[in-house]
Symmetry: C2
Subunit: 480 residues, 2 copies
């Protein structure tokens, strides 16, 4: 039987543009193959590679129980089943778009307004990103994106569109901030290879950094894209995950303050997967200030609309002002406390992490644990972490980081006890490394002179027992 797949399938089917051959996804597979469970599989892999917000789901469940009318599958709502099930207008339910617009405003402190008629639905942020790439760029055109960046961008923006991503190289010397110089360098590099740059993609708050862009950075980016007459895509899917100063500033605010900038160039990607924690519901939002993009993207939304059953539920939920305010405040408090547990625990082991105020992860600095300052050494350490330490974190290389030794560690997809076990495991890794380094130091020839040994770290058990441990935060304890 003829099975010459290469010839009968498309080039897209035969290439690896999906990007699944990456440590980012390999780590997920390692977890899937042997998932940790406190009693059933206590030696399994702990999943810290998934940016999922599970810390406030009890609030949502409570709301759902108290609002049976919001669903078309309850005695109170079933009379609406037919009208909702047959609604397939690609504009989406008006009440849903209104509710999403208001929610986006609340997340931004009501400092900006969003027009529900500019809200386009898509299948998750994944679909929104691809839709924008299809609208803005032709195959071979490029978008600039600062490193490190979310690995899914390669799949979402380039795989089926033929668009390219060109990295803007950022590094730890200035806490991975994007400078105008770095932007110009990337732009120039594209020009030199005759690649047409159609836009700049920013992710704010940043995944994987956990940082937010400040007003200066956003204004600089806004000026740059206006100077070059290229698009600015702002991926703001983590906008409600900030829990500390500096707070989140949306590109929408900068636009309001920049009367000379061209609104046709500005587009926001949003989702309810991270801020509310509903990735399964596949709610993606594309908000554009460009009428032609709104019209075109709306037609494309036929390829990935949000289920009207879900639209209807969320229209009710997001219209409940009291619930939304409570959720946003409580969620931020719990995320902040949880990050405190992780980063505080790491700090006490002598492991640093980039200062951050948002996101569902921290950017952990394991440079001193590398055998050499190379990505091979990073991968070697990563294998130890996944296979021996038994936690899945994501190595910087999978985020196109320019510097080896950084790892993204997710902290909001588990309960307190699992976090405690994870910290304990990391602690053992650090201790082993320190011990072997100390042994090496006692030898005449010290092989890794650049590595500094933190002698001040405590054993994890001590940290956990301390009354000052962030694990005892009352905010964390309010979780069910």
């Amino acid at each position: 039987m003829l099975r010459n797949q290469d010839q009968i399938l498309s080039k897209i089917a035969n290439n690896d543009g999906h990007g699944e051959n990456s440590a980012f996804f390999d780590g997920w597979k390692a977890y899937d193959a042997d998932p940790y469970h406190p009693t059933l599989n206590p030696n399994g892999v702990i999943q810290m590679g998934l940016a999922e917000n599970q810390l406030s789901m009890d609030l949502v469940e409570e709301w759902v129980r108290n609002n049976p009318k919001a669903s078309i599958c309850t005695a109170e709502g079933a009379s609406q089943f037919k009208d909702i099930a047959i609604y397939q207008d690609y504009h989406g339910l008006p009440e849903f778009r209104n509710a999403v617009a208001r929610f986006m405003e609340k997340v931004r402190g009501n400092r900006v307004r969003f027009d529900p008629d500019r809200i386009v639905l898509s299948g998750g942020a994944t679909g929104a990103q691809e839709t924008l790439a299809f609208c803005l760029a032709d195959p071979g055109d490029a978008l600039l994106v600062p490193t490190p960046y979310y690995p899914g961008n390669d799949r979402d923006l380039t795989w089926r569109t033929g668009v390219e991503l060109i990295p803007i190289v950022c590094d730890s010397s200035n806490d991975f901030k994007m400078t105008r110089d770095a932007l110009e360098t990337a732009y120039k590099k594209a020009q030199e290879s005759n690649t047409k740059v159609k836009g700049l993609l920013l992710n704010n708050p940043s995944n994987p950094l956990g940082t937010v862009l400040d007003r200066e950075a956003l204004s600089m980016a806004m000026k740059f894209i206006n100077d070059k007459n290229i698009h600015l895509i702002c991926d703001e899917i983590y906008s409600a995950t900030f829990f500390d100063e500096p707070g989140f500033i949306s590109i929408a605010e900068i636009m309001q303050e920049s009367p000379d900038s061209n609104p046709d160039l500005i587009h926001i990607v949003y989702s309810l997967s991270k801020d509310l924690g509903f990735p399964g519901f596949r709610v993606g939002i594309l908000y554009s200030y460009n009428d032609a993009v709104v019209n075109c993207a709306r037609k494309m939304s036929s390829f990935g609309l949000v289920s009207t059953q879900t639209q209807r539920l969320l229209a009710f939920m997001l219209s409940d002002d009291a619930f939304v305010e409570k959720f946003l405040a409580e969620s931020a408090a719990r995320l902040g406390a949880r990050r405190g547990v992780l980063c505080g625990g790491l700090a006490q082991m002598g492991v640093g992490s980039l200062k951050g105020s948002a996101g569902l992860y921290c950017w952990m600095d394991l440079r001193r644990l590398l055998k050499a300052a190379t990505f091979e050494a990073e991968m070697e350490l990563w294998r130890v972490i996944v296979n021996d330490v038994r936690i899945n974190v994501s190595p910087g290389a999978s985020f196109h980081c320019s510097e080896p030794g950084w790892f993204r560690v997710c902290f909001a997809n588990m309960d307190d006890e699992t976090m405690r076990v994870a910290l304990s495991r990391i602690s053992k890794l650090v201790m082993q490394t320190n011990n072997s380094e100390a042994a090496a130091a006692r030898k005449p020839c010290r092989r890794r002179s650049k590595l500094e040994i933190s002698l001040s770290f405590k054993r994890m058990d001590e940290i956990m027992m301390s009354p000052h441990s962030p694990m005892t935060s009352p905010l964390v304890r309010t979780r069910t």
Copy 2:
């Protein structure tokens, strides 16, 4: 302010590949602008351009009320809210894929088996079609498709993929059946223009014809694609809408009976939008016998997954054997009865329609009402129907029909009373035409000699009052 959209947007955004500039969609707009309502807007446009199955929704609503555990938004199901909301595996919920596979088997009389691991989720059939085009063909490659065909195919399969559709010309001389000659002619034409043909797209049951492909036609198609080593995409989204002999035969049955055919070439597109009547839920299914396509399409499903809230509900619903059997039987009976009302009513006016046994529409023959046998005349008549008769039907030209004068008329998206009003309106159109023809015939110079006048039609009011009218079918009356 610079607003040079053509330059800053993509070619896709600037072309009209979406196909919205068609009478098919213009008719929807005419309805949207002035929708009929029996009391609030009795002179509004009646929507007969929408293939929607609303006739059995009472059964679904009853099931939903009786099965609160199926929903994660009821007291009985809310404890599952978190697990369902965070599930984002692109394989889909295993219980959902199992239930869909079993449902697809039941619809096909349990004569074939479907493997749940070959079921790939997508955002409606729209997303499934595009995904297949991305997997199977490169830009510039072509798929053959018999005419008349669903206008959305142009958007779904070609707009963002760059793939082309090449028509296989069918006509009324043999009831629009696809012959091997017609297939070979289309294939040869593609070769002559140096276009690589990658597949054949069949829609069975057919939209807009309302007919099913018989065993001979399916076997012929199967042999053709194996001879040419090209793909066969079978769009079977209307598979459960058949209500009469000849029954529906799936390509899956033919495949089972053709051990020499290459399974790597066979792909089925499915959806729950038509068979169950849930277009708003955006449940698309791609079923491929080709492992590489399953793997690639599954990765692409990230762009348009089905909401897990909806997956969970439908997993329960489709697993309820008693409900599924009752629904399929009752839905078929109601669809058949409703088609009888429409086609019977038309026949009594002297208006013919293609004999059909499936679908949510009939293929109405208004050739004798055309001023000339041209598509201009068809469009002129269509404008009269939409603007004066005040019903939206879809002209054959929008389905790439090769012969002017055919119109698709949908019958399952309205209640009995609206159907009565619609028939009454069509009756007036036919009477007016007949009267003016009769007047013309009395003049010495008869201008349109080819048009035959049916003198046997009755006034619509008479039809409606007749005890033999299909409007009085008890099956129709069981509807709420």
